[in-house]
């Protein structure tokens, strides 16, 4: 996938920034199994986990001191999936309700354990089909330890970034089948809209009509060409395409800055950013905004009424206009891989 290859290009630079690599591999050990894409290399990680988890030895649980070093790193709003160790039932996973990952136990905050998981999770996304530990570790490094100025959202305490409280941070990657163990009747209560349901759930459940009063905003993933790390955007929070365009700009301009040569004048950069993001929607700019709808098709943003868009968009992407056609072809094969 083009994303991965681009990440790999970026990797060599960032690796040098990591102060103490040894820490990472240590931390990496309990992590990978959990932040791994399902079905891939799962067995490897199993073994790894088993070796560590000797009865009585709570190696995974010891608050690693190494965490202190990374705790104060900015946590990018990547809430990408908590992926379980063993979801071999990938075939049926996508059928259990809309893409919901695990909730973040972000409440139980102080502990580094969750921090670590989040960090691990942060860098891991569907794009990561990289099985090797090292690659994964470096992905994580990228996610967790980028050069500070590149993360635009300032001021807010360690984990907060952009407009989303970290508590929302959560993956839309493959959920685990049948977890948590609640019956389908209840599950339908909790998920206000589910585009994908298992066949058993298709026939009338009375409770499907009951809409929960939760203030849940649909957070969709958004990726930008040339930026290996994705973001999440709250569609319900924007009320129009213009606002969406602005939100996209907010999310990514910091990343873009990081990727430009340090010598460029800042103001010139900002000007360029503005230019880039203002033309997302009309196709005339350097980038174009596309989305993937609930049927898995890539569509150009802006055709349908806003509220229709909100209910059907499952993920967004900021494509280089020049690569638009290439990307569209690529997505077809992407989907094949996914299945």
């Amino acid at each position: 996938m083009e994303e991965s290859s681009m990440k790999r290009e970026v990797l060599p630079q960032l690796l040098d920034l990591i102060p103490d690599r040894k820490e990472w591999s240590l931390r990496g050990a309990p992590g990978p199994g959990r932040s791994r894409n399902t079905g891939f290399g799962g067995d490897e990680d199993d073994k790894l986990e088993l070796k560590l988890g000797l009865p009585g030895l709570a190696e995974e649980e010891t608050p690693a001191t190494s965490r202190e070093n990374m705790i104060h790193q900015e946590r990018p709003a990547l809430s990408l999936g908590y992926l379980p160790l063993h979801s071999m039932t990938t075939a049926s996973t996508t059928t259990t309700g809309a893409k919901r990952g695990f909730l973040d136990t972000v409440e139980a905050k102080a502990e580094g354990y969750n921090e670590q998981k989040q960090q691990a999770r942060a860098a891991c996304g569907k794009e990561l089909t990289v099985e090797e530990n090292t690659a994964a570790a470096s992905e994580r490094k990228k996610g967790c330890c980028p050069p500070p100025p590149s993360h635009a959202p300032p001021a807010t305490p360690a984990r907060n970034n952009g407009n989303r409280p970290p508590a929302r941070g959560r993956g839309a990657a493959v959920p685990v089948v049948g977890w948590p163990p609640i019956r389908s009747f209840r599950r339908n209560l909790a998920t206000s809209t589910s585009s994908k349901q298992p066949p058993e759930q298709q026939n009338g459940e009375a409770d499907a009509k009951v809409k929960l009063n939760c203030n849940k905003s649909p957070l969709v993933k958004i990726n930008m060409d040339g930026i290996p790390i994705g973001r999440k955007v709250d569609l319900a929070g924007c009320d129009s395409y213009e606002r969406l365009s602005l939100a996209v700009k907010e999310l990514f301009h910091g990343f873009l800055e990081a990727q430009r040569e340090p010598s460029s004048a800042e103001s010139a950069q900002q000007g360029a950013d503005r230019k880039i993001f203002s033309q997302l929607l009309d196709g005339s700019g350097e980038y174009t905004l596309v989305y993937e709808d609930n049927e898995g098709d890539r569509m150009l943003v802006g055709d349908v009424p806003w509220n229709v868009f909100v209910s059907t968009a499952k993920r967004l992407r900021v494509l280089r206009s020049s690569e638009l056609s290439r990307a569209l072809i690529g997505s077809a094969s992407e989907r094949e891989e996914k299945c």
Partner: protein, 590 residues
């Protein structure tokens, strides 16, 4: 009694020896043994008792529909009046069993129609019940009275119409959480106008409209109606009318509970509830209108069971409501009640026996303030609490140890920490110590579900201490084969074991093969099993059925696969009927 008709001893001896007491004596004696297990034990004593017991058995519960063939069951117990049959494994509730797995009710209905013409009660759980089954039931049993379908599927309102039309003596029609196809059939109207025997009507899981006028007339003429559970199609004002027609109701499931606030409607409801002096159990689909909750205040005092688990009412309103329910024995609620609300429950509901707290937003980000604190409070202050199902996001060993100390009388303890492998959030340790405390303290524990970060050690404790444990559910726990070995080599009373996503492999399974025959069933999915071990197990234990489930997409013949192939889902159960013949493509019996 004693000598008389049917006496086998024939002679004039003063005291008939035990073995020659006529069967009727034993049958009468056995009628005082309500528990099937006791009757089973009696039947094992000698042939005479076996004969007497089985011929007089009135209630039969078949916990695994494949453990025996329907014909054998009917032959063995020819006088059964009430039968309950359960089908799919428990994890089917959570989508782990693909559709068309089996558990058809049809063979059971057919066998019953042949051998139990006097059958009065039939109950199916997690089975596939078709309209034809329902038609056959209506046609075959002239004194049919009770139909209970729980978590079933495969039928429609047309089948229901057959029941309502054909079963003249129907007392209970109880439909719990089934998937019912709506054929717009007027099943409710099919109750004849002369029909008045209904005592229980539960159609809460039905999607779709019902003719309200018909319902009202039905409720009016069925003077013995005690349980009425409506579906979402019945709006609030209609509930009020129904209650006025059936003020003697004991159990009510409301329909759609939300409506814009109208003082008239409120007054109507309030008055209607005030008239329901016998109302003890309340449930329903409460679409969160706190304004109307206070209309119920009149009945709170008398309530023994409250199911608000579909209610999205927030904490403060919940608290106001529950604080009036001093006599509550059973409470099902959403985690919106929060710790604060549970503290109120703890101080108010001193008679509480069962508590279930469901997650309002299981896939979400966890904004609700429900923690271990709530459970600690309730278990500290409710001396009769014995059954808990608790979904939360964090837990500590200390809390569990406290709970264990306060409530050694737990019989059912199910804790589900939403995020798998969550450790003690304060110490970062595994929750081994906490759960060990539970099993050590609660000697009567019959059902346990564990969650959070757990190592093999907790299973050592469970194996050693949980002597009465009958059902154990494990997910995302353990480190090695040892964990499973501890369970299978301990847990004297274990009947059902269900495991998912644990690193348990072949060795403990094979080493404890004999144990499996003492259990009803074993489910293992996403563990580390291979086909070779399953083959060995099947070979070693002919009275077990070893079922392997592959991805429905890949129906590969088992014989072709090598021993090392991983087994994704394993379901093993004991049976006297041999391998079943109705497996779908993706299920293979080793």
């Amino acid at each position: 009694m004693g000598r008389g008709v049917g006496s086998r001893s024939g002679g004039g001896a003063a005291q008939p020896p035990w073995h020659s007491l006529p069967d009727e004596v034993w049958e009468h004696a056995f009628s005082f043994l309500p528990a099937a297990a006791d009757r089973g034990a009696a039947a094992g004593a000698c042939r005479g008792w076996l004969r007497a017991e089985r011929r007089s058995r009135r209630r039969l519960a078949v916990a695994n529909c494949y453990a025996t063939s329907p014909r054998d069951a009917v032959e063995r117990f020819p006088s059964v009046r009430a039968a309950e049959v359960k089908g799919k494994p428990h994890f089917a509730d959570f989508g782990l069993v693909p559709p068309a797995w089996g558990a058809e009710a049809a063979p059971w209905v057919a066998a019953a129609a042949d051998g139990w013409p006097l059958l009065e009660e039939l109950s199916f759980k997690r089975m596939v019940v078709t309209d034809e089954c329902l038609e056959m039931i209506a046609a075959s049993f002239r004194n049919f009275q009770v139909l209970r379908l729980v978590s079933c599927e495969g039928f429609s309102t047309a089948g229901l119409a057959a029941i309502t039309e054909g079963c003249r003596n129907l007392r209970e029609l109880d439909l719990q959480e089934n998937y019912i196809e709506d054929c717009s059939s007027h099943w409710l109207s099919s109750f004849p106008e002369s029909f008045t025997s209904l005592e229980t009507l539960n159609f809460s899981c039905l999607d779709g409209e019902v003719n309200f006028a018909v319902l009202e007339r039905l409720v009016t003429r069925c003077h013995n109606l005690k349980t009425l559970k409506l579906n979402n199609a019945i709006p609030l004002d209609k509930v009020a009318s129904l209650l006025r027609k059936a003020p003697h109701i004991v159990e009510l499931g409301t329909g759609k509970f939300s409506a814009d606030y109208h003082p008239d409607l409120f007054a109507k409801l309030e008055a209607a509830f005030a008239g329901c002096k016998s109302l003890r159990r309340l449930s329903g689909a409460w679409d969160a209108v706190p304004d109307y909750l206070s209309a119920f205040y009149g009945v709170c005092e008398g309530l023994t069971s409250l199911n608000l688990s579909y209610a999205t009412v927030r904490g403060p309103e919940l608290i106001k409501f529950i604080s009036r329910c001093k006599n509550l024995q059973q409470l099902w609620v959403m985690d919106l009640i929060e710790d604060h609300g549970l503290a109120v429950v703890a101080s108010t509901c001193s008679k509480l026996q069962e508590l279930r707290v469901f997650p309002s937003d299981p896939f979400g980000a966890g904004q609700v303030l429900l923690t271990e604190r709530g459970l600690v409070d309730v278990s500290a202050s409710c001396p009769m609490l014995e059954s808990v199902l608790y979904f939360c996001r964090r837990m500590t060993n200390e809390a569990l140890i406290t709970i264990a100390k306060n409530r050694p009388n737990f019989t059912c303890f199910r804790l589900c920490i939403l995020e798998p492998r969550t450790p003690d959030y304060i110490t970062q340790q595994s929750l081994d110590a906490g759960f060990s405390a539970i099993v050590e303290s609660c000697k009567g524990l019959r059902r346990l579900s564990v969650s959070g970060l757990l190592t093999d050690l907790v299973f050592k404790s469970i194996g050693e201490h949980a002597d009465r444990l009958e059902m154990l559910s494990i997910a995302f726990a353990g480190n090695s084969d040892l964990g499973l070995h501890y369970i299978l080599s301990g847990c004297k009373s274990l009947k059902k074991l269900e495991i998912r996503d644990c690193p348990f492999g072949n060795k403990p399974l094979l080493a404890n093969a004999a144990k499996l025959e003492t259990m009803r069933s074993l489910w293992m999915s996403s563990c580390s099993l291979t086909l070779g071990a399953c083959r060995q197990l099947a070979q070693k234990m002919p009275r077990l059925t070893v079922e392997i489930m592959n991805d429905p997409g890949r129906a590969c013949p088992l014989d072709a696969l090598p021993d090392e192939s991983p087994v994704e889902k394993l379901y093993v159960y004991r049976t006297i009927a041999g391998p079943r013949s109705d497996t779908p493509d993706y299920v293979q019996i080793v």
